[in-house]
Subunit: 580 residues, 2 copies
């Protein structure tokens, strides 16, 4: 039963059903093709291409964090192959908001692609900050847009629509094309009592719904959460309670550097409670500076003080806004918790609020920071103790509302792991959508959408590009497998010298190990490994021409076997021969 409910690329019967449905309508309709290069069946690196009558636009270009198995990798971005192959057809790149999972891939794409990039004011500022790090700010054609603008690129017209999110200036996009209008919500929630600006522009979404929408792509992040997300305003109310509890202690608040609304709430409370505000953490300082410049933050001048002046005030007169709400080991809060911060040392006079929820995978790091701060005597408010954080993503009731307003012909849940997309599809069904009009996609898949049907038309290259230091994509599966192997049981090098002319052993085999055992306590084991290697070499002693690949492989096997038998460990065994 379940398998009949949603169309899936690997289920041919369903695709055939879609095709049959499409054939019923005799008039051929213009299609728009949607190709996602990230954000489907994964969290992060969001990037979607739309292709209509030969013109292409891109929505977002994000990055994501490496997963636990990607040892040494700094960042993951989408595979841009298909974009670069079609560079001449790309008319514009539209950014929905300034979070890393929507802008983090930009420097890597834009070094190879000349295309105008469209973003709202704050988003543009954040992109500029990022491009500056890469010395690219002058070479990129970055254009400011605002909700309600109509940007025509090729046969498509893109209209940004204001939405609420945990960062200001977020927009959804209506893409008007000859095939019909496609709407992508971007990351959004519906905050009916926002602390700044307007509620998500429900009216415009509804108007598109009235005119007719071909397809809706909607944020699936919180599709598992029942009800509606809480308003950002609630955080302010919790802060007030906590500020009173803090009394004459110093208040330290850790939150996301991009959550300008929350920072403004803190500034407002600082005035009310007669405290000065100082800022810690590189990204926090940078973002707050830019937000002041662009007018997204405002406060009387004398509220903000530089960190070095903090010591001139009593604890009860101070608020420190800091990074580190996810327990990131190098962040300001983490350094404070370890007593390693250059400027601020923590003690019983500190009242610390971690205004965030740990992202899955970060719980242990956050716990470590909390333990450290508590041990230093501070009071720490974290996780669910008070309502000090709200999500920026729509819950189930908000998702349903948007579906009801936009009333799309087709629905494509995006921005989530498979479990999120699947649940989101189910939610759309409960609003009355036909399961056959809902598509659970995959990255790289070419989905053709028109008035007469929706079908998968094959695929394009897609995947993950791993960034390690300066290297983009030079760390592949072999390198990662080796790192994994090395990390687990370390390394044993078996090195020996032979005469190129006679093939005779001149020196060695010597054993050098790292990360395997404590060598001084394992002399016997090392000797045994050496004698295994010697045995192999002895067997080939009288051959003048030797196949070193075979001999090395035999040494590897025998040394590995004896080490495993003795230790139940599998170090990487690396035989090296030097011909002299």
């Amino acid at each position: 039963m379940e398998k009949r409910r949603y169309s899936r690329i690997d289920e041919n019967d369903q695709i055939n059903e879609i095709r049959a449905k499409a054939k019923k309508i005799t008039q051929p309709a213009v299609p728009i093709r949607m190709i996602s290069l990230g954000g489907l069946n994964e969290i992060g690196k969001n990037m979607t291409l739309f292709d209509c009558q030969g013109d292409m636009i891109i929505v977002d270009c994000g990055s994501t964090f490496p997963d636990d198995e990607m040892y040494g990798i700094d960042l993951v971005i989408p595979d841009f192959t298909y974009v670069l192959e079609n560079a001449d057809r790309i008319k514009g790149l539209f950014i929905t908001h300034g979070h890393e999972d929507h802008i983090g891939g930009l420097p890597y794409l834009l070094k190879d692609l000349q295309v105008p990039v469209y973003a709202t004011r704050l988003t543009k500022g954040l992109i500029e900050n990022k491009l500056e790090e890469f010395n690219m700010v002058r070479t990129v054609d970055l254009r400011e847009i605002a909700p309600g603008d109509r940007i025509r690129r090729g046969c498509m017209t893109v209209v940004p629509i204001h939405v609420n999110h945990s960062i200001p200036d977020a927009v959804g996009l209506a893409i008007e094309s000859p095939a019909g209008t496609v709407i992508t919500t971007g990351d959004f929630k519906i905050d009916l009592t926002p602390t700044q600006g307007e509620t998500t522009d429900l009216k415009t979404f509804a108007e598109y719904g009235t005119k007719g929408v071909l397809a809706l792509l909607q944020d699936s992040t919180n599709s598992e959460r029942r009800g509606s997300s809480a308003s950002e305003r609630m955080v302010g109310r919790s802060f007030e309670t906590l500020f009173r509890m803090a009394g004459d202690r110093r208040i330290i608040i850790a939150t996301f550097a991009s959550n300008i609304y929350r920072i403004q709430q803190i500034l407002d409370l600082a005035i009310r409670y007669d405290r000065k505000v100082t800022v810690s953490g590189r990204s926090m300082i940078k973002n707050i500076e830019m937000a002041f410049q662009l007018g997204y933050l405002h406060t009387p001048k004398d509220i903000m003080i530089p960190p070095e002046e903090e010591k001139n005030y009593d604890p009860g007169q101070i608020i420190i806004i800091t990074t580190g709400s996810q327990g990131e080991p190098l962040s300001a809060l983490s350094r404070m918790s370890g007593g390693m911060h250059r400027q601020f040392s923590i003690g019983p006079d500190d009242f610390i609020i971690i205004s965030a929820t740990p992202i899955p995978g970060n719980e242990k790091m956050v716990t470590k920071v909390v333990n450290g701060l508590l041990k230093l005597g501070a009071e720490v408010i974290y996780e669910s103790m008070y309502d000090v954080h709200v999500s920026g993503h729509a819950y189930q009731e908000e998702l349903k509302l948007m579906l009801k307003l936009v009333r799309p012909k087709y629905f494509i849940p995006v921005h989530g792991e498979y479990k999120h997309l699947k649940r989101h599809a189910y939610i759309a069904e409960t609003t009355g959508m036909d399961p056959m009009d809902i598509h659970l996609g995959s990255i790289g898949e070419v989905l053709s959408i028109s008035e007469t049907g929706m079908k998968v038309e094959g695929s394009v290259p897609s995947g993950q590009l791993l960034i390690d230091g300066y290297g983009v994509g030079d760390v592949g599966s072999v390198v990662l497998r080796d790192r994994h192997h090395l990390s687990h049981d370390g390394l044993v090098v078996v090195v020996f010298s032979v005469s190129r002319q006679t093939g005779r052993l001149l020196a060695g085999p010597d054993i050098v190990s790292r990360g395997f055992v404590y060598v001084k306590a394992s002399e016997e084991l090392i000797a045994e490994a050496r004698s295994e290697a010697t045995a192999v070499l002895d067997r080939y002693r009288d051959y003048v021409y030797k196949d070193w690949a075979v001999i090395k492989s035999k040494i590897r096997d025998r040394v590995s076997n004896v080490l495993y038998k003795r230790t139940k460990r599998n170090p990487m065994v690396l035989p090296i021969v030097m011909e002299i």
Copy 2:
């Protein structure tokens, strides 16, 4: 203010206060010393020593999982140095229940220590299973105890007290000593409607409270959770709803192999819904077999079927109980989700219940399994969708109730990270305890407790013993640091041969790398590294006697520098010289 509230080993003023308080009473009192070797400021490897008038007993001997940074480590156990040094004084080892964090260290301790081990019936069975794996079951003096028994060991008498937990046969312990009675709750909750057996023996705890209790050690796991834990019975009610939802689909339930209560509830529902039950996963099979043998599980004979007979039934007639509720990569459920299970393949006819909450750190693994199962078309019930799991540890109101019943003179929160202990201390304060009578301890610390006071009397060796394969404690910080280094950016070996007589270079330097870059695409970089190494060797060309340590260190520096400059990576550089 905060720092005056709790005594801490590193705060001398507080210790002095405690001493001053102790001195007020002129009569010298007999002390009992408590030494924890695990479970304070950490989750897992619980182990506590009690020492009174020269006699010692041990409570529990657990293991814990390695943290993310302990590459290649299989298991972590307490440092037993102090126990082994005092082997002749140890009169008995008492086990509160059969979870790994209370019994996992036993084989490693008992191979070096002859001591009677006391455990209740099911716990004894689980210990026997474990000792069998180590071929130790005949050499250990394992004795069965039951709640209400009075076991005299030296000057102390130990009385097990029945408590509820997520495994049957759990007990707290009252330790009656010349210094007074110390009570340790073990892991516990208060289930007022248990599915089997009695509620935690509140009466006995209260009676001890009436007679007078010197100190209480209490489980801090859930000290952050408000209210009371839900009854195991609630899970059964959820299962019933879900069984009806499952209809004619096959039901697969993943849960902890030791949660016999839950397994019994599934067996009871199997009868009611006319389904056969089969079992998957090694530990699940083993535990269920033993629980049947010992009478902890019961069901009509024809309910249980072997896995190979499962295919003879319709999906609607089957329940599979399986391991893998934490997404463990090698578990039965994980293999099912990847289509790799030998016996069971998943499809739209499956209704899967994950009856557990992900332990912090396991969320991503569970999500991966859920995604896999959903993609195969199964319906999956997980996390908070229904009440399919309850915790086995007391929440705040239960902790307060126990404190009120036992009314100890001193309170020592145990079994938790610092944040749990700290919160637990605060909870005890709200019940009216004097903060000075609450001690936040550390492992290794010797805490002397008597009627006249509580004080820290120094410390004994304590810490973590890492188990990697057969090796116990042979992987130390150097090996772990090397594994970490290797995992991050891989390895570059620089190898060369020289003449022992002339000091001349005979071959090399050659560069061999693993886990660093994709070599074929990086020939230039490798050539550059080689020429750096050559430059160092050239400089020392004319020295006959060479200090290879210095030369290797110079090669390491120069090669590291050039690689970092080019790649922003820091591989381990390993120079090897062969003298011929």
